[in-house]
C-alpha cells in the first residue's frame, strides 16, 4: 500500500491535537490529524471549558499566563471568540481554615512575582456572587479568567486548522506505528501515513500511543462528570470553585448551569466509554445546592463523563520524547487542560519545527514519570 507522506502526523482530534496541528500548519508544515472517532469525542467535547489561571500549580503558572493572554485575543488565532467571556473565576472559602489556605497561596505567588490572583472579603464576594450562601467568608479571585463554549471552541479550532491546510481525518484510528528510515509509518483504519514527526495528543489513550513508539509512560484515567441543568434566571457570572470540595459551577450564555469539578464517573478504556455514577454525582449536587441554595429546584437535564489521562503529579506531559526521534507528546492534562490549548499547541509546533522552545515546559518532561516507573 502506498503511504501518504506528511511533515507531521497528529494523533488525536481533541483540542490539543487540533491546536498543535493548527500551529504546525501555520509554521509551514504539511500536517494531517488522525482521530479515531470524531473530533472532540472525549474530554474536549465533555469539558467545562474553564479558562483559568486561578489556583494552578506553580509549575503551570507561566504557561497559563501566556495562554490567558492568547485567550483574550483568541479571535486573532482562530477567527472566532470561542464563546469566551472573562467574567472572572472565584474560589470560595467556606471557613477560616480555607481562607487561610488561599492567603498562604496568595503570598507565595506574590513572592514569586505573580499578581494575577487576589483575595477578597465576604462583602466583595457577595458583590461578585449575590446568591452565594452567607456562610462563605471570602475567596480568591482572578478577574481576567472566565470560560468558553467547548463546542464552539472545537468548531473554531477545526475550521482554523482546515483553513491552515491541515487534513483532518475522522474515524481513523492508529493501529500500528513503525520506523521506516527517517520516518514513522502509521497503519491506520484509513490507510498508511508516513512522516518524520508525530504529535501524540491522544488523551486518555496517549499512553498506548506512546508505547507504540517505545515510551513507557504510566498514566491514570480521569472520567470527570458534568451536570447541565435547564435554563434559569441569572445566578452567577464568574466561574465558581471551592477550596474545600470538588466543584466548578458556571452559567452558560443560554442560562443553563454547568456543574463539574472533578467528581469521577466510571470508565472502560477498551470500549472508549465513560458512564455517569449518580451516587457519586450527588456529592456535586450537594455542594452546589449548599453554596447556592436557590438552585435546589433547578432540574438536571443531562450529565456526562469525559475521558482523559491523568498523571501521578497531575501535571501534563509536554515535550519531545526522550527515546523516539521526532515525536512530541502533549497529554495528561489531568482535568485542567482546556485553558492551555492555545499555548501548548504553539510550544509543540516549535518543538517539532525547531527542535526546541523557549516556553517554560521543563516541568512537564515525560522522564519524570518514566523514572518513577523504572524505580518502582
Amino acid at each position: 500500500m502506498i503511504a501518504s507522506v506528511y511533515d507531521a502526523v497528529v494523533i488525536g482530534g481533541g483540542l490539543h491535537g487540533l491546536s498543535a496541528a493548527l500551529h504546525l500548519a501555520r509554521g509551514g508544515a504539511r500536517v494531517t490529524l488522525l482521530e479515531r472517532s470524531w473530533l472532540g469525542r472525549h474530554a474536549s467535547g465533555a469539558s467545562a471549558a474553564g479558562v483559568r489561571t486561578l489556583g494552578r500549580d506553580f509549575a503551570e503558572v507561566p504557561l497559563a499566563l501566556e495562554a490567558m493572554t492568547m485567550w483574550h485575543e483568541i479571535s486573532a488565532l482562530v477567527g472566532d471568540d470561542c464563546g469566551f467571556h472573562a467574567h472572572g473565576q472565584v474560589r470560595v472559602a467556606e471557613n477560616r481554615a480555607e481562607l487561610q489556605v488561599l492567603e498562604q497561596r496568595h503570598s507565595a505567588l506574590r513572592s514569586l512575582g505573580y499578581d494575577h490572583e487576589e483575595i477578597v472579603d465576604a462583602r466583595e464576594l457577595k458583590r461578585l456572587l449575590p446568591h452565594v450562601a452567607p456562610h462563605c467568608i471570602g475567596a480568591a479571585v482572578a478577574r481576567d479568567n472566565g470560560a468558553a463554549d467547548p463546542h464552539r471552541t472545537l468548531r473554531a479550532f477545526r475550521r482554523a486548522a482546515e483553513a491552515a491546510g491541515v487534513t483532518l481525518r475522522e474515524n481513523c484510528g492508529v493501529e500500528a506505528i513503525e520506523r521506516a528510515g527517517e520516518c514513522w509509518r502509521l497503519r491506520t483504519a484509513c490507510g498508511v501515513f508516513e512522516a518524520p514527526n508525530l504529535v501524540n495528543a491522544a488523551g486518555a489513550w496517549a499512553g498506548e500511543v506512546a508505547a507504540l513508539v517505545g515510551d513507557r509512560i504510566p498514566l491514570g484515567t480521569k472520567a470527570s462528570m458534568m451536570i447541565v441543568t435547564e435554563r434559569m434566571n441569572p445566578l452567577v457570572k464568574p466561574v465558581v470553585s471551592s477550596v474545600g470540595r470538588p466543584l466548578s459551577l458556571k452559567q452558560t450564555d443560554q442560562g443553563t448551569l454547568l456543574i463539574g469539578g472533578g467528581v469521577q464517573g466510571r470508565f472502560d478504556l477498551k470500549k472508549e466509554e465513560a458512564t455517569v455514577d449518580f451516587a457519586a454525582l450527588s456529592k456535586a449536587a450537594r455542594t452546589v445546592s449548599e453554596l447556592f441554595p436557590v438552585v435546589r429546584d433547578v432540574r438536571i437535564v443531562r450529565a456526562w463523563a469525559g475521558l482523559e489521562a491523568k498523571t501521578v503529579d497531575l501535571l501534563p506531559v509536554i515535550g519531545l520524547s526522550p527515546n523516539a526521534p521526532g515525536v512530541a507528546h502533549a497529554f495528561g492534562f489531568s482535568g485542567h487542560g482546556f485553558q492551555l490549548v492555545p499555548v501548548v499547541g504553539a510550544a509543540i509546533a516549535e518543538l517539532v519545527l525547531h527542535g526546541g522552545t523557549n516556553r517554560p515546559i521543563a516541568a512537564f518532561d515525560a522522564r519524570r514519570l518514566m523514572a518513577k516507573e523504572a524505580a518502582a
Binding site: V228, A279, A285, S289
Partner: protein, 466 residues
C-alpha cells in the same frame, strides 16, 4: 435493609402487569414501578378508579378488559411502586426512583423494561402553537378526567389511534370539525398483499372498520390523502391549512388541532443502557434486538410490550407473559424444557395477535413528508432548532446526530431528544443518502428524566442510609 427484589419491572401496562403476575405465580419477588398513580399503563389508564359510567362505556370493551388483570395483580403480592418516576438506570440494575419528595434506589439482578411506546415525532409548521396537541395527549385527558375539548376539534393524522379517539370523543359528546386523513392513498395497494394473513386477526380489522364507519355516519368532513398540514396563528392556533397530494393549499379557521402519526417503541432506556438496536423499516423505528425470551444484548435486561416493537395491547400482554417465563427460567424456577412448554401457548397467541401488523404497518405507513419537514419548521422544540439549522450544521462537517446535537443544541433540552431524535436522524439520512439505521440515533445522556439538583443532593443521604 430488606433484600431487594429478584426482578424490577418498569411500566404497569399490559406487558408489565402480565409479567408481574406471572412471575409472582412462580414465587419470584417483583417490584413493579410506574409513573402513574394506578395500574393500567396508557391503554388502561385510570382503570382502577373507573366505574361503570358513561366514560367507561365511551372508552369501550377493550378498555374495560383491564379491570380484571389489575385486580389479580393487586392480590399477587408484587411490590407496587406507583406514582414513582424512574429518572436513571445504571448497570447492575440500579434503578433510581423519585416518589413524591423522596429519591431512592432499587436494585435487582434482573430488569424488565415494559415502558411502552411514544407518539412518533411529527413536526410541521406551527406544531408548537398553543391549541395544537397530540392525539395521545388528548386521550390521556379523556381517560383521566373524561375531559373533551370544548370547541370542535380538527384531527390530522393516520393510524388506529385517531380513529379510536374520535369514536370515544363523539361518544362523550365532544364535537369534531373534521378529520384530515394523512395516510397516503398508495398505502392501500401496498397493504393489500398483507390482507389475507391479517384475516386471522379479523376482530381487530372489524374494530377499525367499525370506527371508520361510525365516523363517516356522523357526516363530519373526512379529507383523505392529505400530504401536508400547517398550523397558523399569532399566540395560539387560529387557522389550519392542508394540501392533498397533488392539490392546492386550503385554509380554514380552527381552535384545536390534534395530530398523530403513529407510535414508536420508547427506546431511550435501552439506548442509554447501550443495548444493540435494529432499524425496523416496516415500522420506521429503532427497536432493541431481543432474543426469544425478550432479553436484550445486555445480560439480565429484558424488554416486553410495545417497547419491543409496536404490536398493541394484546401482543404486549403476551410478550409480558413470555418474558416472565424466560426470566423465571433464568432464575432457576423452571427448567429449559418446562419454560419452552409453558411458553408454547402464549407464543401461538402472540403470532395471532401480530397477524394484522404487517397489514396495519403498510396501511398506516407514515407519509414521507413528516420526516423531512420544510426548512423553517421547528424540529427541536425544547431548544427551538429548525430543520434548516440541522442540515446546515451537518454540512459544516458534523455529519452524525451527536455532532449535530453539539453544534445546534437540538436534543439537549428537557425532553432529551424524544421529540426530535427521529427527525434529526431522518434529515441526516436524506441529506447524506444513507439509511436511518446507518445514521443512528442520539447518544442518550443521563438522567433519563429530569431530576432536580435538590433531589440528587438528597440521594447521598439515602445511599449512606443503605
Amino acid at each position: 435493609m430488606s433484600p431487594g427484589p429478584d426482578v424490577i419491572i418498569l411500566g404497569a401496562g399490559p406487558a408489565g402487569m402480565a409479567a408481574a403476575t406471572r412471575l409472582r405465580d412462580c414465587g419470584v419477588a417483583v417490584t413493579l414501578i410506574d409513573e402513574q398513580p394506578a395500574l393500567g399503563g396508557q391503554i388502561w389508564r385510570g382503570i382502577e378508579t373507573s366505574h361503570n359510567g358513561p366514560l367507561e362505556n365511551a372508552l369501550g370493551k377493550d378498555y374495560r378488559a383491564g379491570a380484571g388483570p389489575a385486580a389479580v395483580l393487586r392480590a399477587s403480592g408484587a411490590e407496587l411502586r406507583l406514582a414513582a418516576q424512574v429518572w436513571q438506570i445504571e448497570e447492575g440494575w440500579r434503578v433510581f426512583v423519585k416518589t413524591g419528595d423522596a429519591v431512592g434506589m432499587v436494585t435487582a439482578p434482573i430488569l424488565l423494561l415494559a415502558s411502552g411506546a411514544q407518539e412518533r415525532p411529527n413536526p410541521f409548521p406551527g406544531w408548537t402553537l398553543p391549541g395544537v396537541v397530540s392525539v395521545g395527549g388528548a386521550q390521556i385527558m379523556l381517560k383521566t378526567s373524561g375531559q373533551v375539548p370544548e370547541n370542535p376539534v380538527w384531527v390530522a393524522g393516520s393510524g388506529p389511534l385517531p380513529l379510536l379517539y374520535m369514536t370515544q370523543l363523539l361518544a362523550l359528546g365532544g364535537r369534531l370539525a373534521g378529520y384530515l386523513d394523512t395516510a397516503p392513498r398508495e398505502n392501500f395497494s401496498k397493504a393489500l398483499p398483507h390482507f389475507p394473513a391479517a384475516l386471522t386477526g379479523w376482530r381487530d380489522l372489524y374494530k377499525g372498520a367499525r370506527w371508520l364507519w361510525q365516523l363517516r355516519r356522523t357526516g363530519i368532513p373526512v379529507i383523505s390523502d392529505v400530504a401536508e398540514i400547517e398550523a397558523k396563528g399569532n399566540d395560539r392556533l387560529e387557522t389550519i391549512a392542508y394540501r392533498r397530494r397533488g392539490g392546492e393549499w386550503i385554509s380554514m379557521p380552527a381552535e384545536v388541532l390534534l395530530a398523530h402519526e403513529g407510535v414508536v417503541p420508547g427506546v431511550h432506556f435501552t439506548l442509554a443502557l447501550g443495548c444493540e438496536h435494529d432499524w425496523r423499516d416496516d415500522q420506521l423505528c429503532f427497536a432493541p434486538r431481543l432474543d426469544d425470551w425478550g432479553e436484550t444484548s445486555r445480560e439480565g435486561l429484558f424488554v416486553a410490550g410495545d417497547g419491543a416493537g409496536i404490536g398493541g395491547a394484546e401482543a404486549a400482554r403476551l410478550r409480558g407473559e413470555i418474558t416472565a417465563i424466560g426470566i423465571a427460567r433464568r432464575l432457576g424456577k423452571s427448567s429449559e424444557s418446562e419454560a419452552a412448554r409453558l411458553a408454547k401457548s402464549p407464543r401461538r397467541e402472540l403470532a395471532r395477535a401480530l397477524a394484522t401488523r404487517p397489514f396495519l404497518d403498510a396501511l398506516y405507513r407514515p407519509r414521507p413528508e413528516i420526516f423531512v419537514p420544510a426548512a423553517e419548521t421547528v424540529v427541536c422544540r425544547c431548544e427551538e432548532v429548525t430543520a434548516k439549522q440541522i442540515l446546515d450544521a451537518a454540512r459544516l462537517g458534523g455529519s452524525g446526530p451527536n455532532q449535530v446535537k453539539a453544534f445546534t443544541r437540538a436534543g439537549m433540552g428537557p425532553c432529551q431528544g424524544r421529540q426530535c431524535g427521529y427527525t434529526v436522524s431522518h434529515l441526516l439520512a436524506r441529506q447524506q443518502d444513507k439509511s436511518v439505521g446507518d445514521v443512528g440515533f442520539f447518544h442518550i445522556r443521563p438522567p433519563l428524566k429530569p431530576v432536580s439538583l435538590g433531589d440528587l443532593a438528597a440521594l447521598h443521604v439515602e445511599e449512606s442510609a443503605l
